[in-house]
């Protein structure tokens, strides 16, 4: 459980860390869209270069990012295998009843590259942005929706609480699991039914503790006069600086380039 580094904040000081979270949120969105816009090898190289520069700028060790990728290795493998064997076209190699086609090979590689870029790119945002900054940015960007009576503040508050609770609940699960193991619980059994049954002694205490924590938190918030987003001020209001505008310009250029590549069929 502790090996999940995907999407956790990595503490260091870099240009990307200092960037306004709104820029990073918009940037990540642009980046993901551009991943689906480009459809050629030169396009992938361009996106890859952009990503590589961002990784260097973020000062997050590359090995740390790769370690986070372990979590999606399985999905990646399934995607590649299906694309490899299921795409019709000019046959390359035949193993038993399965045929690898030229189109399949190229499609599988493109798919894999796209997935890896997608995950690394979006995890780069969460690696360089604290959950608080992220929800602040989200609340700010969704601000116009308030006019449509969308409870923007409430949504972002729920999101930040949910994010904050992930590590807490993970630690709690670990503790309960150990306590039940000390009482002889068996989590290594092979049979699926046994394994599902063995989850009960973990899930029940976990739910109870989650409710207790939620209750305590609500009480603590009320004790400090929390009453929703109306008239609430911030300790660190989001203010754009020069580097943020520069970043927007770079983003626009990158995005424009991707669209141009697609239109020109490069």
């Amino acid at each position: 459980m502790k090996e999940i580094t995907l999407g956790q904040y990595y503490q260091t000081d870099s240009v990307l860390h200092r960037l306004d979270p709104r820029v990073k949120l918009v940037g990540t969105l642009c980046y993901i869209i551009s991943l689906f816009i480009v459809n050629s090898w030169p396009g992938y190289v361009a996106v890859g270069l952009f990503l590589a520069v961002m990784i260097v700028l973020s000062r997050v060790p590359f090995s740390y990012i790769v370690r986070g990728m372990k979590a999606i290795a399985f999905i990646l493998a399934v995607t590649v295998i299906f694309n490899l064997f299921m795409t019709p076209g000019e046959p390359l190699v035949s193993i038993w009843k399965l045929t690898v086609t030229r189109e399949g090979l190229s499609f599988a590689i493109k798919m894999a590259v796209r997935l890896v870029f997608l995950i690394i790119g979006s995890s780069l945002m969460t690696l360089t942005t604290t959950p608080t900054q992220l929800t602040d940015a989200l609340e700010n960007l969704m601000g116009p929706l308030k006019k449509l009576h969308v409870p923007v503040h409430e949504i972002s508050m729920m999101m930040s609480i949910a994010l904050r609770f992930i590590p807490i609940l993970m630690e709690e699960t670990d503790k309960i699991e150990k306590a039940q193991m000390a009482r002889g619980a068996d989590f290594e059994s092979k049979s699926i039914i046994q394994r599902v049954k063995s989850m009960v002694p973990i899930l029940v205490p976990l739910f109870i503790s989650a409710f207790r924590r939620a209750n305590d938190l609500a009480m603590a918030m009320e004790a400090r006069c929390y009453h929703g987003g109306e008239g609430r001020t911030r300790m660190k209001p989001l203010v754009y600086e020069r580097r943020d505008f520069i970043a927007y310009v770079i983003l626009a250029v990158f995005f424009g380039l991707c669209i141009a590549m697609r239109l020109l069929n490069l």
């Binding site: 306590a179 193991m181 000390a182 002889g184 619980a185 205490p205 503790s209």
Partner: protein, 289 residues
């Protein structure tokens, strides 16, 4: 008997955040002893006790139970855990069944015992921690804090361990609940001859009951011996943010004032007796001043 040989344990090994929670520890826990394990928060106590029943594996060194290496391949660690029972901090958070009796039966069931036998053991365990028959069908969530704690301890006791490790069993309890639990543990040690390892950060708690105190600081044992020996080195305890029981300080002050008394009293009763022995000296001192 549990032997620990040169054991180390590192959290987050290989990263910048690596912490040596256990740093080359060697010690022996003989059968039947009642031991107090004392240390400041973060001194490695909780990590150490988890090494003893194989919940975590030491990064280097060995842990032997009755002469066998518990981390060896093929060693039955699940079986070990029914011999070395571990009660975690705030054990009441592990309760999950609809009534106490069924919850306590969880351990024996995992040992593969028959329904009858499980029920028998659970009843015995619950009675020994001070519940009566009428409580058995109560939901664990309707109990008071101290009762929950006792029910959770019964859950481990029902497995009939030879060694019982309790990680801060009195944390967050009122004085009466605390005394109840400590008295009960001490009773288990005397009548059932169970080896007890009591983890605590309060000297007052353990001084009265244990026969040996191990003091831990940043992954090492800095003191290990009978309570009187350990408390004699109050300065060393203070260095690591702990303190000897208040009574030790009173006795020492009296001695410093010229009273020729023994300073190794562990309880208020012993201290009172010792002071009363020297009543005449005390009177003499008073008139001098």
């Amino acid at each position: 008997m549990i032997e620990v040989k040169d054991a180390c344990y590192t959290y987050e090994a290989g990263t910048a955040m690596a912490v040596n929670a256990i740093d080359h520890i060697t010690t022996t826990i003989p059968d039947g002893q009642f031991i107090g394990l004392i240390g400041h928060t973060g001194s490695g106590k909780s990590t150490f006790v988890q090494l003893l029943n194989g919940l975590i594996k030491c990064s280097s060194g060995q842990v032997l139970y009755n002469g066998e290496d518990i981390n060896a391949d093929g060693y039955d660690r699940r079986n070990l855990r029914s011999h070395v029972g571990l009660v975690f901090q705030y054990p009441e958070h592990q309760l999950f069944e609809t009534d106490i009796l069924t919850d306590v039966m969880f351990g024996p069931k995992n040992q593969g015992l028959s329904e009858e036998e499980c029920r028998e053991r659970a009843k015995e365990a619950l009675l020994s921690v001070g519940f009566s028959e009428r409580h058995f069908s109560q939901s664990p969530f309707d109990l008071s804090g101290g009762q929950k704690r006792r029910a959770a301890i019964a859950g481990v006791l029902a497995m009939r361990p030879d060694v019982l490790i309790l990680d801060e069993p009195t944390a967050g309890l009122d004085p009466k609940g605390r005394d109840n639990i400590l008295e009960m543990i001490s009773e288990l040690n005397r009548t059932h001859d169970i080896t007890i390892l009591l983890v605590s950060h309060s000297m007052e708690d353990v001084a009265r009951y244990v026969e040996r105190i191990m003091v831990m600081d940043s992954g090492h044992f800095i003191l290990d011996g009978a309570p009187a020996e350990v408390f004699a080195q109050a300065e060393k305890l203070e260095e690591v943010g702990l303190a000897a029981p208040q009574i030790t300080y009173i006795m020492r002050k009296l001695k410093a004032r010229g009273l020729n008394i023994q300073t190794d009293a562990l309880t208020y009763e012993e201290a009172a007796e010792e002071i009363l022995k020297h009543r005449s000296e005390l009177e003499a001192l008073r008139t001098q001043e």
